[in-house]
């Protein structure tokens, strides 16, 4: 029931949140805080949430990803959730949310 989020700046300041482990009710708050603080940072034009190494994602995780997309839009910052079809992406597809998770910011880029 562990979740770790490491961060990297790439591609012109875009913040990558590399998520590893299980996103569930007990860990979703960790991811939420990382997304919020990433979007809050003045010099971050957008964030990518990388779920490649996520082994489990439930509805609390989906809620956090959707909330992130909504606040990205409010702050006019780019937002992308990168999830492999076979892993965490499968639940995003079944839940009908994947296509709604990307947002192209209108900020400094």
């Amino acid at each position: 029931m562990d979740l770790t989020v490491s961060t990297e700046r790439r591609d012109g300041g875009i913040l990558y949140l590399i998520v590893t482990g299980e996103v569930d009710l007990s860990t979703a708050g960790v991811l939420q805080r990382e997304i919020v603080s990433g979007l809050d940072a003045q010099d971050v034009p957008g964030i990518v949430v990388d779920l490649t190494e996520v082994t489990f994602l439930d509805s609390s995780g989906i809620r956090v990803l959707l909330k992130g997309r909504r606040s990205a839009e409010e702050k006019a910052k780019s937002y992308l959730v990168d999830a492999p079809r076979g892993g965490a992406g499968r639940i995003l597809d079944i839940s009908g949310v994947r296509e709604h998770l990307a947002y192209q910011g209108t900020g400094e880029r």
Binding site: R63, G86, I94, H100
Partner: protein, 406 residues
């Protein structure tokens, strides 16, 4: 008095407080427990008043919850904004505050002035680093509270905080279970043309959550069936679930199109519960026309078992969950309902496991599903997918077997 004497004095006083925080008082509710503790506080600190204000769920206001010597604070429902007034400063700073001479410049609560309180000492109530309230004491005669007094009250507050938090948590759990039970009847009301059964099981990790099912006959002759999952757990999720359940019923009376019903429900949630999110399937069954119309807000697809055919997942494209983004377009699909076919709805707790991909969960479900009496189907599915394991997440299922038609 030497410091050493003071210390042993303090310890003796704390032991006297401890005597009332033990299990002997476990039957008391929070207010009664606090009143008992506050009597001891008055005695050991030799003060005239002792009051506990707890932070409300918004975290913005302190609510007078128990008081001795200042009972009117509780009776009048005193609320103090965090940051202002005496108690508000204690909560905002997370530090003790002493007032030697109470006057309108340092308190905002008129009761303190009317009562003629001369001096006050307040300390934060802290659990796991978080302020949950304020404990303050007061005297009618002017008094300069010492560092020892402050230290003792702080230690008392620590003990009271733990007792309060534990009691509040157990009351929350009991309330949540009672709420779930009242909203999710074990036996569904009889509806002509449908044999229905349902199960709800709390999760091992999350306890009672926001899963729900519902079934109702509509004046049009249609039957409404609902399965849903409010994100989160505990009392908050259960309360939001209760609101969604009754709002969905109300909209179901207004519209026979499930996509329209979910659109209205979504609009209501966006406005009144902006932090909530839920996945829902609403199905309108029309036994006369032998069809069902379904709309899904981000929920896992229902399954259909027809006589003589393998069971399958229904292709109900999921629109966004309720509460995700405003003005989401929603869709409905129609599914033929042959006689003696069984429609099965469930929440993610039934099939999602950390130990296997979700598609294996779907396979287990459809291979265990056959038409038959709804109670038996529920028992079979729970046995096949849950067995003797405990699930982390809560689980709700709803089985509907059509019984009419020719």
């Amino acid at each position: 008095m030497s410091t050493g004497q003071n210390a042993s004095d303090s310890s003796e006083k704390l032991r006297r407080l401890q005597a009332v925080t033990d299990a002997a008082l476990s039957h008391l509710d929070v207010e009664d427990l606090l009143v008992e503790l506050l009597d001891r506080v008055r005695e050991i600190l030799d003060v005239d008043t002792a009051t506990v204000l707890l932070l409300d769920p918004s975290g913005q206001q302190l609510v007078a919850t128990a008081a001795r010597g200042l009972e009117e604070e509780v009776r009048q429902g005193v609320r103090i904004p965090v940051g202002s007034g005496f108690a508000g400063r204690v909560a905002a700073g997370g530090q003790p505050v002493r007032i030697e001479h109470v006057d309108p410049t340092n308190v905002i609560n008129p009761i303190l002035l009317d009562k003629g309180i001369a001096s006050m000492l307040g300390v934060p109530m802290i659990v796991a680093g978080r302020v949950i309230g304020v404990l303050h004491v007061g005297t009618l005669a002017p008094r300069r509270f010492s560092d020892d007094d402050t230290d003792l009250l702080q230690r008392v507050a620590g003990r009271i905080s733990l007792a309060t938090q534990a009691r509040l948590a157990s009351i929350d759990r009991a309330t949540t279970v009672a709420l779930q039970r009242s909203l999710l009847p074990g036996r569904l009301g009889a509806i002509e043309g449908i044999d229905a059964a349902a199960r709800y099981v709390p999760g091992a990790e999350v306890g009672v959550g926001g899963d729900w099912y519902d079934l109702f006959a509509l004046p049009s002759g249609h039957i409404g069936a609902v399965i849903g999952d409010v994100a989160g757990n505990g009392l908050n999720a259960a309360v939001i679930m209760g609101r969604m359940r009754s709002a969905l019923r109300a909209y179901a009376l207004e519209s026979s199109d499930p996509a329209d019903v979910l659109t209205r429900l979504d609009r209501k949630i966006q406005l009144f519960e902006p932090d909530a999110m839920a996945t829902v399937i609403y199905a309108v069954l029309d036994p006369a026309r032998k069809q069902a119309t379904l709309s899904s807000a981000g929920h896992l697809p229902p399954a259909l078992a027809e006589p003589g055919r393998p069971a399958r997942l229904l292709d109900v494209p999921a629109d966004l969950p309720l509460g995700a983004y405003p003005d989401t377009r929603r869709h409905a699909v129609e599914v033929p309902l042959t006689r003696d076919s069984l429609m099965f709805f469930y929440t993610d707790g039934l099939i999602e496991r950390r130990t296997r991909p979700i598609d294996q969960g779907f396979e287990l479900l459809v291979s265990a599903l056959t038409p038959g009496p709804a109670e038996r189907v529920c028992a079979t599915i729970m046995s096949a997918l849950i067995g003797d394991q405990t699930t982390n997440d809560d689980v709700a299922i709803l089985a509907l077997q059509t019984t009419t038609g020719s």
